[in-house]
Amino acid sequence: MNDETYVVTVQKDLEDLVPTFMSNRAKEVEALRAALDKGDMEKLRQLGHRMKGVGTSYGFEKVSELGKLIEDNARAIDKAALEGCLADYADYLAKVKVVYA
């Protein structure tokens, strides 16, 4: 975790879609948490894979990066690393600021 504020520039055309996108990311953190608590690595891998695909498409590269890490760590069944990823993801979502261009 850090004090950095994340600023993401999103295409103006996507403005209407971003609120839903952000709210789905918050739900995603909950789903990741539940899967990790249950030790459901397959679910974690799937969720990570999905984050990887959708993040950068919207302009949120950090979401894709974290998605790839979650996917890889779920494959490796590295729970400690996954805990770190989840903490980073929650922190990122709490701090991210969106600007439209």
């Binding site: 055309d13 996507l14 209407d16 879609l17 695909g53």
Partner: protein, 374 residues
């Protein structure tokens, strides 16, 4: 005048987006709508397959990993079904995921879109496939038009030989009737009917030459109408004689009955024509008819520059000899055709059985003679 379709709004290009991630589906939908395309969304493999079957989209944009059948399976099923095989399927995969691309190619995918999706790549790929789709539709429309034209040409050709009803039946055959004629260079059972004018020689000596052709045309028009009425196939017209076949090129279980009814109709229809000629030229003409059944060879016979669809065989020869022996307005029926006519003619009082010596036959031939009132 605008051409057909000009001015009318073109049908929208319909894209089915298959993705279990609503954010990704919404993202793709937004860009495609901006390009004026219509979108449908399916969130799992099963509903995608249902939508493909029921909505017939113009393109499927499909994620790989999803609940139910995955993108590869969807692709395989779309390509395996004849009714959907031409719908392009674009698989959305990570650029670095070469394994998925290979599996996608094996499953029949038409193209790939890289994740993360860039708007420019998405639009470029979809537009390319749309152009291909439009070209394919145009070619399909041209092919259909050519097929209609070809069918019309076949119809015109058939109508010279066949009754309109028979021509329709032949054309409704899946192969446009061509298979029927392709297979006909082989033996087939037919009933042959020969008809000609009794007294034609005298007619041609008496009537001015300029009148002969119109009179023959009148005669053949009447006989052809009777042939078509009974769904016979006209094989040849030569001089004043006409050859009609039954049970060819399509089966007619009642071929012999049809031939006799056709012969009667020929004589009946010719009556008023003959009466007109008698009033004008002072002598009465009639029709002689011979009918025989048997196996013949049917097919297109001729040289590359001239081909005639015809029947050749003993039944045709016997029918011709019987016609030559028939008196005016008499139908002579050969022994093989007579076999299947007992029920039809058994109680016919105008029936006469006789033995005839026919050229080319060793012994006398038993024939049925049927006198018909003109």
């Amino acid at each position: 005048m605008p051409e057909a379709g000009e001015g009318a709004a073109p049908a929208p290009f319909r894209v089915l987006i298959v993705d279990d991630d609503p954010d990704m589906a919404g993202f793709l939908q937004m860009w495609l709508k901006r390009e004026g395309m219509q979108t449908l969304i399916a969130q799992d493999g099963d509903s995608a397959l249902v939508k493909i079957m029921t909505e017939a989209p113009d393109l499927v944009l499909c994620d790989v990993m999803m609940p139910g059948p995955d993108g590869f399976e969807i692709c395989r099923r779309v390509k395996a079904d004849e009714s959907t095989a031409l719908i392009p399927v674009v698989l959305v995969t990570a650029l670095e995921d070469q394994d998925s691309r290979v599996r996608g190619i094996e499953a029949g995918a038409d193209d790939f879109l890289s994740k993360p999706v860039r708007r420019e790549e998405l639009i470029a790929r979809v537009k390319t496939l749309r152009r291909l789709h439009d070209t394919r539709k145009e070619l399909e429309a041209r092919r259909l038009a050519a097929e209609v034209q070809e069918k019309e040409a076949i119809r015109k050709t058939f109508s010279r030989y066949l009754s309109p009803q028979l021509a329709e039946r032949v054309l409704s055959d899946a192969a446009g009737g061509q298979s029927l004629f392709r297979n006909l260079s082989e033996r087939t059972a037919v009933v042959a009917l020969f008809a000609d004018l009794r007294g034609f020689t005298r007619l041609s000596e008496t009537v001015p030459v300029s009148r002969i052709v119109p009179m023959l045309n009148e005669f053949f028009t009447v006989l052809t109408a009777a042939a078509h009425e009974h769904e016979g196939t006209v094989f040849s017209m030569a001089g004043d004689s006409l050859l009609v076949g039954f049970n060819v090129p399509v089966p007619q279980p009642d071929a012999a009955e049809r031939a006799v009814a056709c012969g009667r109709a020929m004589i009946g229809r010719f009556g008023p024509v003959a009466a007109g000629w008698a009033a004008r030229y002072g002598f009465t003409l009639g029709i002689g008819i011979g009918i025989e059944a048997g196996e013949v060879v049917a097919g297109n016979v001729g040289a590359p520059s001239f081909v005639s669809y015809t029947i050749i065989g003993d039944a045709v020869n016997v029918a011709a000899r019987l016609m030559q022996n028939a008196k005016a307005n008499e139908i002579l029926i050969g022994p093989r055709a007579a076999l299947s006519l007992d029920r039809m003619l058994g109680r016919d009082t105008s029936l006469d059985r006789r033995e005839l010596a026919l050229k080319g036959k060793a012994g006398p031939v038993g024939v049925l003679a049927l006198k018909v009132a003109a």
